[in-house]
Every structure is written in structure tokens, then in C-alpha cells.
């Protein structure tokens, strides 16, 4: 009889342990190498640019604790030859190297083959190789479509501008999505489009000048894609008034600049959450299925339009309707990455 409390205690302990182990998130399976994964991310510019580079690095940092990762950030690597950097990371035994720039999409798969190291590239689905090379890209055109709907509803002058630091596939897709969103609300809208330079990602002054010119030409909503250059675009929106004397709204991409929005002109941002695709890659490494084409979408949360200001209910309703339309397939947003095709589409859309 005296043994009964002990028995009860053991049963209770067992039941508690059962519930603990079943209700807790499943433990990460042990890596074949019996150690946490080592993941490196290589970015061309600063990891504090509140844009492409920072979001790419932050996405990995977000997964660090959850996946017990050892991470390394190689930033400010520019757009030149990054093979030595990739080889060095391969030599250090990284399990995955994320080459976070479209400019790295060609050389990175070469190093992957040469050093037998897993890599992830941007916007090069043709390079995908089972076990070795993965590709990731965002369907940001859908987020940009919503931004276009918002811009069309918010403009008072019926002139909307778009300033971009380069004409790369991601930026082109977003331009097309933005234009289609605008056009869906008001086909008569006057759309202005400026490119700062060939690869002027960090040209903040160029961004400012181009935006000032668009504002002078009547634009009161600016959609800016630029990394470091977007700070200049934002500055121009802060310093200048629209033709009617009101605010010039700024719609950003990739990152969240609310922390520096002193003049309250940041209307929204098409956010890119890279942790979504990185996590897919990690899962595939553990399940030995690495080497795939991953997409950030509105549906999986990889892309979202964050609206930072109170907007009229008609604008909110139009955005909601558009989002539902995209998700249920009623609205098809064009996926145009090629610059020439994008420009010709622009001419057709806004004759």
C-alpha cells in the first residue's frame, strides 16, 4: 500500500512528460554532421540599409535561435568578383551560403560545383541543382499591385511617380505590378517613371533629384525602389510639397523605415520577409531535399503590403478587394522581369 503514492507519482510524472513532449514544438532533428547548421549570407552593401541587404540578413538572424544556427554575415561585398569570398566561406565549412544579390546569380553556382557546397541564389531558377543550388525570388509584383491600388486611391493630382535605382528583374516585376494596380483603379492616371542609373542602389542624391523632378511635374505619390537610394527618395518627399500644397506620399519597398519617418510621409511598404524562404531551405536541408525553387508570396507571408497611416475607408476596401482577388485567382498580376518587355508594357498601359 505504501508503494501506491510512489506508483501514482511515477504515473503522474509520465503523463506530464507525455503532454510536455507532445505539446512542445517538434525538436529539430539532428543534423547529419551532429552539429547545428552553419549558414552564411553574402550581401553587396551594408546590412543596415533598411532595405534589400538588411532584410536579407535580418531574415537569417530571425531563424538563428529557432534553428540553433551558426551564422556569418559577409556584407559590403560590392558587385564585383565575389568568388574569393564564397570560396573562403566554403573552406570554413558552411552548410549553406546565401548569395543575396541578383548580381551573384552566375558565379555562385560555379563555386557550389567547384567546392561542393550548398548555395542559394536570387532570380536564377535555371541554376537549380538538386542537393547543391537553390533559387529564391519574391512574387513582389502582387504586393506592388496592392501598392498601386493604394496610390491610385490616395493621389490628389492624378500624377503618380515611380523612381527606381536600377532595372533588375525584381524591380521590374514590382513596377509592372504597381502600374497594373494603378491602372485597375484609374486607367487615365498620369504615371511617371525614372531610373536613377544602371546600378545606382546607393545613390541617395540621385534618388532625391529624380524624385524632386517628378514632384515638380505634379506627382504626389512616389513609389520608390532603391536600397540606399531610397533614403534620398524619402528625403525629397519630406522636403517638397505637392502642387496642391499637401503632402507627397512615399511608398517604399522591402524594408520598414517608420523609425525615420519624421515628417509622416511614409504611407506604406511592400515588405519582403526572407525568413520564409530561408526556413524552407533549412527544412529541405534536414530532409535531404535541398535544391529547389522557392517563392515569397502574399499567400505564404513572404510578401506583404504594410500600411503605416490611417487611410480612407474606400482605399482600404479597394485594397482588401484586390488582395482577395489576387489570392482567389480572380486578379492575375503580370510577372514581367525583362526590362524591354516591361517598358513596352508601360507604353501600352499608359498611352
Amino acid at each position: 500500500m505504501r508503494k501506491f503514492p510512489s506508483f501514482l507519482f511515477i504515473v503522474l510524472l509520465y503523463v506530464l512528460m507525455f503532454f510536455y513532449t507532445t505539446t512542445k514544438a517538434p525538436a529539430i532533428p539532428p543534423h547529419p554532421g551532429a552539429r547545428p547548421l552553419k549558414v552564411a549570407v553574402v550581401v553587396p552593401a551594408s546590412s543596415t540599409d533598411q532595405g534589400w541587404n538588411q532584410m536579407g540578413v535580418d531574415g537569417l538572424r530571425e531563424l538563428k535561435d529557432k534553428w540553433h544556427l551558426t551564422i556569418e554575415v559577409a556584407e559590403n561585398q560590392g558587385y564585383g568578383d565575389i568568388k574569393p569570398v564564397l570560396r573562403d566561406l566554403a573552406r570554413k565549412g558552411f552548410d549553406l551560403i546565401i548569395a543575396h544579390a541578383s548580381g551573384y546569380q552566375t558565379v555562385t553556382p560555379e563555386v557550389a560545383v567547384e567546392r561542393d557546397v550548398r548555395v542559394a541564389v536570387v532570380e536564377n531558377p535555371a541554376a537549380v541543382r538538386p542537393g547543391l543550388v537553390s533559387n529564391y525570388e519574391g512574387e513582389a509584383q502582387k504586393g506592388a499591385y496592392l501598392a498601386g491600388v493604394l496610390a491610385a486611391k490616395m493621389t490628389r493630382t492624378n500624377v503618380v511617380g515611380c523612381v527606381t535605382s536600377a532595372e533588375v528583374p525584381d524591380w521590374n516585376r514590382m513596377t509592372v505590378g504597381f502600374m497594373e494596380g494603378l491602372h485597375s483603379i484609374n486607367p487615365k492616371i498620369n504615371f511617371l517613371y525614372n531610373v536613377i542609373g544602371e546600378a545606382s542602389y546607393e545613390d541617395a542624391i540621385g534618388g532625391k533629384r529624380n524624385t524632386e523632378a517628378q514632384i515638380a511635374a505634379g506627382a504626389d505619390v512616389i513609389f520608390g525602389m532603391g536600397d540606399g537610394a531610397s533614403f534620398g527618395i524619402m528625403k525629397a518627399c519630406e522636403e517638397n510639397r505637392a502642387k496642391d500644397g499637401g503632402k507627397v506620399w512615399f511608398i517604399d519597398v522591402i524594408g520598414d523605415k517608420t523609425g525615420i519617418d519624421r515628417k509622416q510621409i511614409l504611407l506604406a511598404s511592400v515588405l519582403w520577409n526572407f525568413d520564409v524562404v530561408y526556413e524552407m531551405m533549412l527544412i529541405d536541408i534536414y530532409s535531404d531535399r535541398f535544391g529547389d525553387d522557392y517563392r515569397q508570396t502574399l499567400e505564404n507571408g513572404g510578401i506583404e503590403l504594410a500600411v503605416y497611416k490611417e487611410i480612407p475607408s474606400v482605399a482600404r476596401a479597394a485594397m482588401k478587394q484586390a488582395e482577395e482577388g489576387i489570392k482567389n485567382g480572380r486578379i492575375k498580376v503580370s510577372n514581367i522581369a525583362d526590362t524591354r518587355e516591361m517598358r513596352s508594357y508601360m507604353r501600352r498601359l499608359f498611352k
Binding site: 552593401a45 543596415t48 559590403n76 532595372e167 541617395a204
Partner: protein
């Protein structure tokens, strides 16, 4: 289309051109003196960048535009003297030393910015404003020409002063003599080393001011490598102007207006490939260099280190 020919559009076009020309004019004046003295400083870009960074930090801390500008100038002077030590005292190849200084500035500003601010992006509160010249700033279509930052007006005033110093004073004569024949100048009692150091010091002040203008007046924040090649453009402008400060304004203005045209032509929506439009400023400078600088005679001792016998 109507908006393209509107007054606000022209105002922005001209105003932007002059603002964009300011750091180039300042840096080019300094480089003019240095090159006239026989030294090529490819580190000009780095001097501007360090000036931009230091001015930004000082202005952020003190919220005082003048302390910011002075700090930028001081940073330019430090790099100028370092460059002088490398090429005048140690006689290191000027091209290599200049490129090294430029890369050093890119690296050190990135590193220090990261150490100081981490993932933050600080912005200087509004401490600068444009200065409108009474009456002139009311002229239609040209109002923005006379509504500029104080530094822009200073850069215009500096141009004739620089010409006067270089061509009408004994110091200017010494500089040109050192650039032409340092041995002969030395024989006539001109201290070649001191003269060259002084030109670099002067260049440091102006390049640092040009960089400070970018980060404090034009933008009010610092971004990595924000000079974006303006130092190199200044060097091209000096050669375009054939080392005459009077020509620097035209060179810088030409580059600025071509840049502004790229914005305007894009908004105009011309059915021309954008690559052609974006190339315009560089094509114009190269074309003018081909035309104007064909028979240019460099200072005879250009790029040659001087060793006193």
C-alpha cells in the same frame, strides 16, 4: 507633358543642377591647386567621403551646422596631410597612394558607422536651410538659382578668388612653378615640400567641405559611399578646365545640367532607350574632354615626386 514646361519643373531642374554642382566645384578648386603643383590626388573621393562622415557625426551630436562643416573640413585636411606624407615624404606612387586613400575612406567610414550606430539609421534634425537672395529669388523660372544653400554661394565666390590666388599672387606663382620645374623653383628659394603640403591642406579643406555639404546640407544623413564618384568627376572637371579655376564652373555646371536632363527627359517619356539618357552626362564629359583637352599640356612635373639633391 504640360507639367514638363511648367515653372516648378524648370525651377527644380536649375536648382538641382546648382546644388549637385556645389561639391564638385569645391573639390575641383582644391584639386586644381594640387595638380598645378604637380600632384595627382585620386584620393579626392575619399577626402570628400570622410568629410561627409565626420561632418555628419559632428552635426548629429552638436546639432550645429557650422561645427559639422568645420569637422568635415578638418577630416579632409587630415586625409590630405596623410596623402602628402605618403607621396611627398615617402614618395609613394601617387596613383597607388590616391586609390589607397579612397579605399581607406570607404572602409573606415563603413566600419565606424557600423560601430557607432549598428542597425540604426540616424538623421540630423533640420539644421540647415536655403538662403533666398531678395528680389533675385522672385524671378520666374530662375528663382531656384538664387535660393540655394549658403555653401553653394560660397563655392561661386571661391572660383574668382581661386583664379586670383593661382594667377595673381606669389603663392600661386610658387604653386605653378613647383608643378612645372620643382628643381628650378627650389633653386629660387621656393620650399617645394611646403608648397605642395599647403596645396593638399587647401584641397583637404575644400574636399571636406564638399563632402560635408552632401551629408549635412543636401541630405541630412549619411549613407555608405555617398559621394558616388563625385571626387573623380571633380578630377575630370579640372582637366576639362585645363587647370583654370574659371573653367571649373562651366565643367561642373555642364555635368550637373546633363544629369538634370536625364531626370527631365525620362519624365518627358521620350521613346528613346533609357540607357542613352542615363549615359548623357558621361558622354558629354568624354566628348568635351576629347575636344577641349586634346592639346592640353599637363604641368611638366605632373605626378613626379621631388627629391632635393
Amino acid at each position: 507633358m504640360n507639367s514638363i514646361f511648367s515653372e516648378p519643373f524648370f525651377t527644380v531642374l536649375f536648382g538641382g543642377t546648382l546644388t549637385a554642382s556645389t561639391p564638385i566645384i569645391l573639390a575641383a578648386i582644391g584639386e586644381d591647386f594640387v595638380e598645378s603643383g604637380g600632384i595627382l590626388n585620386l584620393g579626392l573621393e575619399g577626402m570628400m567621403l570622410l568629410g561627409a562622415f565626420t561632418a555628419f557625426i559632428a552635426a548629429l551630436i552638436t546639432e550645429n551646422v557650422y561645427i559639422g562643416l568645420l569637422s568635415g573640413m578638418a577630416a579632409g585636411v587630415v586625409l590630405g596631410l596623410l596623402f602628402g606624407y605618403l607621396v611627398i615624404y615617402l614618395k609613394i606612387n601617387q596613383i597607388v597612394a590616391g586609390l589607397g586613400i579612397g579605399l581607406f575612406a570607404i572602409g573606415i567610414t563603413s566600419l565606424l558607422f557600423r560601430i557607432l550606430f549598428g542597425a540604426e539609421f540616424p538623421v540630423i534634425p533640420d539644421i540647415t536651410d536655403k538662403t533666398a537672395i531678395p528680389l533675385l529669388s522672385k524671378i520666374p523660372y530662375a528663382s531656384s538659382i538664387f535660393n540655394q544653400h549658403l555653401i553653394t554661394y560660397i563655392s561661386w565666390i571661391l572660383l574668382p578668388i581661386a583664379w586670383w590666388v593661382l594667377y595673381k599672387t606669389s603663392f600661386g606663382l610658387n604653386v605653378r612653378a613647383v608643378g612645372e620645374n620643382p628643381a628650378a623653383a627650389d633653386v629660387h628659394g621656393v620650399n617645394v615640400y611646403r608648397t605642395r603640403y599647403l596645396t593638399l591642406l587647401f584641397e583637404g579643406v575644400l574636399a571636406g567641405l564638399g563632402g560635408a555639404f552632401l551629408s549635412i546640407c543636401d541630405l541630412s544623413f549619411f549613407v555608405f559611399h555617398m559621394t558616388q564618384g563625385r571626387g573623380f568627376i571633380a578630377i575630370a572637371v579640372v582637366m576639362l578646365a585645363k587647370w583654370n579655376p574659371a573653367g571649373i564652373f562651366y565643367g561642373a555646371f555642364l555635368f550637373g545640367i546633363c544629369h538634370s536632363l536625364t531626370y527631365g527627359l525620362q519624365i518627358l517619356g521620350l521613346d528613346v532607350p533609357r540607357e542613352f539618357i542615363l549615359m548623357l552626362p558621361y558622354v558629354a564629359v568624354i566628348a568635351l574632354l576629347c575636344i577641349l583637352a586634346r592639346n592640353t599640356r599637363f604641368p611638366a612635373a605632373f605626378c613626379n615626386p621631388y627629391e632635393r639633391e
